[in-house]
Symmetry: C2
Subunit: 297 residues, 2 copies
């Protein structure tokens, strides 16, 4: 199999039609009146917003904007731009107070994690001494500060999730999640946080495929072009954590999914075999995050 | 097949041994140092506490007690009794403030849902006019007050879940959930609330089987005997909502699971066929709550 720039090309119209049909069906099947979505200002939630509006109409979509202490001010601006273009109702729910009352900003780690350049320095330093923090976060870590850092950003995603459900249930709406396949396979999401929703419209599309349909759906260029970021810890953007650009990562994942050898993938993409193996390990370590809770059998 | 008092009898020692082995294995497999559990004061979380302590030792278990405005004062007393008997560390995290800052106590519905007898009256009244509120809650409802009531109690369970994760991640512990099979099949749990955990030790035991192993594990009699309640809305206890006692419900579910006809189950248990059909519907309506988010395929 040859891996190149065309490997992950999709027919955007066909894909969007299918997803929109799926959304419409699920709203009907589960007896709901519309859809709640969290708009982060990023490309994934923007794409899902366009898809749900196409599926059920802009009058039946509510978008929540949920900033907290560490959110970038640009995020809310970009989220509002999406909502305005689509003509959907928005509510801004500031999560700073509930997070503060849960003590989330009080740990030593939380006090440090405020400035981007400091955070990146800590991350790189930690990587040298104890291994990649993202990887360590997936497999469990005894390092107190890293564990605190994990808890610190994960509760933010989870609080967003429960806020989405709180509003969705009041309106008898569904919650649409915004995970994509790249995040899903690499565990680059929060278990019971952004991965928790009633429907997950773009979970079968790699990040680079989400970009393709973003173009087709006419998502504002500004949003398509900006560096993807979970917007939970200043300075921490996706490609910094993952250690590779999405173009190559997606093809590595595709190669692994299609049972190509590490060697073959590495050769074709001109990356080290070690890199390919690393992502294969990441897929394994994050397996429990993609499954229902374990039970004895 | 004959349904009688022996139908769901289990060998408690064998079952507990298996569950404890499972717990130990998962802690090792996921590279964690212990287990976090939420103690409600009820039998399910008490049983799980005994099992996890047997599996990993009381020094490696943290119990969170998470009261809020509407919790019964007895709950915390009973939870503390369990923790004391087992010698496990507890933390009391009051969720009133975060819930208040999310606006949860502000809706009209929330203001009404304070007194048990008022709540039961509203529930029964609603049942007459619009159908069973629990059932309506499963299938989605356009009734504003019922929808508000749903949102009101569900966010409490979800906030407990994210609090458990917040502490588990700081200590590199697993979260053990306390759902049982009766709750799981009937949707008598909160999606991404109490059903969200890393491991679910008693999810394959019916409520009446949980009672059997509670005896075996020597859970305090006071806790085994008290009426099961989600403790989220005053006056709302399990059997009031489900409309039947657990002894018969478990056997109905067992009969349905084993593909017995509605008629046969009804006859053997001396309940109406309508009742059996109702629980069969409940199983279907709650299906989405037992699955991963839906995706287009």
């Amino acid at each position: 199999m040859e891996l190149n720039v065309n490997t992950l090309k999709i027919n955007s119209k066909k894909v969007c039609d299918k997803i929109e049909f799926f959304i419409k069906e699920k709203v009907k099947e589960l007896n709901r009146q519309g859809i709640v979505i969290g708009l982060s200002g990023g490309i994934d939630s923007a794409v899902v917003a366009y898809l749900v509006v196409n599926a059920v109409g802009n009058k039946n979509v509510l978008a929540l904007l949920m900033p907290e202490r560490d959110s970038s001010p640009d995020s809310i601006k970009d989220a509002k731009l999406v909502a305005k273009n689509l003509g959907i109702e928005t509510k801004v729910i500031d999560l700073k107070k509930p997070l503060a009352s849960l003590g989330v900003y009080n740990t030593i780690t939380a006090k440090f994690l405020k400035k981007g350049f400091v955070v990146r320095g800590l991350y790189k330093g930690f990587e040298k001494i104890s291994g990649n923090p993202f990887y360590k976060g997936l497999e469990g870590t005894e390092n107190k500060y890293l564990a605190q850092g994990n808890a610190f950003y994960k509760i933010k995603h989870r609080l967003r999730m429960i806020t989405l459900y709180y509003y969705s249930e009041q309106k008898n709406y569904l919650v649409a999640g915004c995970c994509n396949k790249t995040e899903f396979l690499t565990g680059f999401f929060v278990k019971y946080g952004d991965s928790a929703a009633d429907i997950m419209p773009i979970n079968q599309l790699y990040k680079t495929q989400v970009r393709q349909i973003a173009d087709y759906l006419k998502v504002p260029e500004k949003i398509i072009k900006k560096a993807p970021s979970p917007d939970l810890i200043p300075g921490i953007v996706d490609e910094f954590v993952l250690g590779i650009d999405y173009e190559r990562l997606d093809i590595i994942l595709y190669g692994l999914e299609n049972k190509m050898s590490f060697k073959e993938i590495a050769k074709q993409l001109n990356v080290t075999e070690k890199k390919v193996k690393y992502f294969n390990e990441i897929i394994k370590k994050s397996k429990h995050m993609r499954e229902l809770p374990y039970e004895p059998n």
